[in-house]
């Protein structure tokens, strides 16, 4: 018995250590490399002398390129996607979770089945639609493109979350004279806050990390985002890895910071829909 426990703990830590090396180390390595000079990276050594560590890469990225502009673009777009995705998916998920709606199951299945539409096929007409609306290379155009990526999953996740909140709560609010919107905002939302937070976070990181949509809709600096920029930097003929590492680090930091706020809720929110059924 005792031996069994020791083996179990041993295997557990083995899995933990292998996982840390595989999942966490690559991130640490690129952050570490962003503080090294180009020559020290090219020595092929893991550790270099103290004077080879520098902030030069960050200075170059922030001053020579329009990195700040792209950062602001990414931020603007991601915030707009997050807010609009929340508004639309909260109301839809609440409607689908609480009311008798004709063809409800068809609607739910329909929304879920859009997940199987090949996005590369959708963007062909989407490009033409957005162009005809005059939204090419605009923030609104990009936001629309990102919304179709996040809405189906957001609605599905939130519906699962709302389903787990007892209907009695709505009923008692109704008795107290609350209408639908009041019930939703003052009674349900505070309870569903963790789920809402997760959906907001999900929308933000999908938008922040998107490459496909932005590569089609973007035409100029006006809407260029960080993913496009780091891709360009890393596809250059002579790659300056120190600077690429700095730019990449600056790109992942916001997502990591947000993640640290929601990580505890993330699981609960992501799996609410699936666990419920």
């Amino acid at each position: 018995m005792k031996k069994g426990v020791i083996i179990r703990i041993g295997i557990t830590y083995l899995v933990v250590i292998v996982s840390l090396v595989f999942f966490i180390f690559p991130m640490l390595w690129i952050i570490y490399s962003s503080f090294r000079t180009q020559p020290s990276i090219f020595t092929g050594e893991i550790i270099s002398s103290v004077k080879e560590y520098t902030l030069e890469n960050y200075k170059t990225i922030l001053s020579v390129t329009d990195f700040v502009t792209y950062f602001i673009n990414s931020f603007k777009i991601a915030i707009a996607v997050t807010l609009s995705s929340l508004i639309f998916s909260i109301s839809a998920a609440y409607g689908l979770s609480r009311f008798r709606i004709r063809g409800k199951n068809v609607i739910i299945l329909g929304i879920f089945s859009t997940q199987m539409f090949p996005i590369v096929l959708l963007i062909i007409p989407l490009y033409l639609i957005i162009t005809s609306f005059g939204l090419l290379d605009t923030v609104i155009g990009v936001v629309i493109g990102h919304l179709i990526l996040v809405l189906p999953f957001s609605v599905w996740m939130l519906k699962g979350y709302f389903d787990s909140i007892p209907v009695d709560i709505d009923d008692s609010a109704k008795v107290d004279g609350c209408n639908i919107l009041r019930t939703l905002f003052y009674i349900i939302m505070p309870i569903a806050a963790p789920g809402v937070m997760v959906v907001g976070f999900f929308s933000f990181i999908v938008s922040w990390g998107d490459f496909l949509i932005i590569s089609i809709i973007n035409q100029s600096q006006r809407t260029a985002t960080l993913t496009l920029v780091i891709q360009r930097l890393s596809a250059a003929l002579l790659i300056r890895w120190g600077e690429v590492a700095a730019a990449t680090t600056l790109t992942i930091i916001p997502t990591i910071i947000l993640f640290s706020f929601v990580q505890r809720r993330l699981v609960e929110g992501l799996t609410a829909g699936a666990l419920k059924e």
């Binding site: 179990r8 557990t12 899995v15 933990v16 999942f23 966490i24 690559p26 991130m27 092929g44 893991i46 639309f88 998916s89 109301s91 839809a92 409607g95 009311f99 329909g110 929304i111 089945s113 859009t114 997940q115 199987m116 539409f117 090949p118 996005i119 590369v120 096929l121 959708l122 963007i123 062909i124 007409p125 989407l126 033409l128 639609i129 919304l147 179709i148 639908i180 990181i205 990390g209 490459f211 496909l212 089609i216 960080l226 993913t227 780091i230 891709q231 890393s234 890895w241 690429v244 990449t248 997502t255 990591i256 993640f259 990580q263 699981v267 609960e268 992501l270 799996t271 699936a274 666990l275």
Partner: protein, 300 residues
Amino acid sequence: MEKKIKTRKRVFISSYNKYFLILPVIIIIGIFTVYPLIEGVRTSFTDKNLLKEEEQYIGFNNYTKLADDEVFWLSLRHSIILTIVVVLLQFVFGLILAWAMKQKVPGMPVFKSIIMASWVIPVAATVIMFKFMAQPDIGFINIFLKLIGFGDLNKYWFGDINTAFPFIVILHLWRNIPFYGIAFLAAMHAVPESYYDAASIDGANGWQKFRYVTLPCIRNIIIVMITIHVLWTFNNFDFVYLATGGGPVYATNVLPVYVYRKCWTSYSLGQGASMGTIMYIILMIYFIIYIKISGREEKT
């Protein structure tokens, strides 16, 4: 008077408001997802090209052309193999990770809180990290191999025809295994402890408990995770496009990347759309089989 209007308004709201709640999502998905799908399928029967104004219907020409296109068949095969291999490995490693995270040992809460970080960072950044590590001479993988005496393996791992594809698989695994692990863990926590006690009384060992108690209890989440990841992996464009662009010599080319190139490099939207339509048909067949199977199992 005031009151009357108010009541009427309230009646109106309460009977129709529920439809207004879901309307915006329906409209957005309708205009920007469902309509593009239909329009995309229609485009596949035309010779639409970004460089010219008019388009003509050319029947199944795009499709017959595909039949002779070796790169198409290669990409199709890659897409299917990639999806199967990736989802299978993610599932197995996800289970192992979930099992480990369920053990109550010191440090586990911290581990659980950081492990999903790989899922939240942009794919473009992930690809850069791995491309950087895979660089010849200066990449960590090659530095490490040299340290342990395998210096002659030194190469650009994404640029080698034999290792590029496995490295694409690794990118997918890196991003998604923690998500599987965390999701499975959440489901495992929902399994009542009494089930395990009952199994213990019946003399089940650790593996048997896992096989006959844990697995059946988390079946739902397993099905959901596998289903969405089959769709996501098969449709995934970023990893291959950013890491290898489909190369070297088409060794990693998958359908989404080929469609993208047809449309936005050669500008033949019709050709691209026909391949996109085939992708859609494949996924639809998968989806129908999934619904049939899950429906049948629910009945029994």
